[in-house]
Amino acid sequence: GDSVTQKEGLVTLTEGLPVMLNCTYQTIYSNAFLFWYVHYLNESPRLLLKSSTDNKRTEHQGFHATLHKSSSSFHLQKSSAQLSDSALYYCALSANTGYQNFYFGKGTSLTVIP
């Protein structure tokens, strides 16, 4: 079945260092959409990035990701971590099977320290 793997459960980074959160996925569908959601403490999870186009870089709020269908990956990156980036990040897959369903990874908790 469809699934998403996020290797890192906890990531701690020093402010200013680059961020890379890993996401790989498995699906039988060719029209899959990949998403990154961010969940800040005491807020609702919200969409950060999404893509369905192979090898095209998607950017938002300083973060970027490129969907690589050949390696089934959609890693989240940022050139320089900020304290305010501390949050829980979820990678998700949506494959339209007549209705929309989403498969989430286990999440990566990012903590940025001074």
């Binding site: 996020q6 459960g9 029209n31 959409f33 998403f35 959601y37 005491n42 807020e43 609702s44 999870p45 919200r46 969409l47 999404k50 369905s52 979820y90 998700a92 949506s94 494959a95 339209n96 209705y99 929309q100 369903n101 989403f102 989430f104 990874g105 286990k106 999440g107």
Partner: protein, 113 residues
């Protein structure tokens, strides 16, 4: 823009008790979802509904019931709360197209004494 409202934000129950969480959305979205969030386990789907009066079980449906009597609302019932259980339940909605994203509520935190 729209909003998803979950009530209550905090719910404390006793072992064996039946507990109900409510979710309202004003996006006019077709599909609504209930997820359970546990640390290290990600978001796991409990129930979803693609239209009024429709109910579909997710991977974690055992021990839960759901109800979608109106397009705008989706309720989740814990049929028998488990002692020492603690979890956050997230309601979400989306349009019924592949390009749609999920919109989430702020969550309801359950504690069972």
């Amino acid at each position: 823009g729209g909003i998803i409202t979950q009530t209550p934000k905090f719910l404390i129950g006793q072992e064996g008790q039946k507990l109900t969480l409510k979710c309202q959305q004003n996006f006019n979205h077709d599909t609504m979802y209930w997820y359970r969030q546990d640390s290290g386990k990600g978001l796991r789907l409990i129930y979803y509904s693609i239209t009024e009066n429709d109910l579909q079980k997710g991977d974690l449906s055992e021990g839960y019931d759901a109800s979608r009597e109106k397009k705008s609302s989706f309720s989740l019932t814990v049929t028998s709360a488990q002692k020492n259980e603690m979890a956050v339940f997230l309601c979400a909605s989306s349009i019924q197209e592949n390009t749609g994203q999920l919109y989430f509520g702020e969550g309801s935190k359950l504690t069972v004494l």
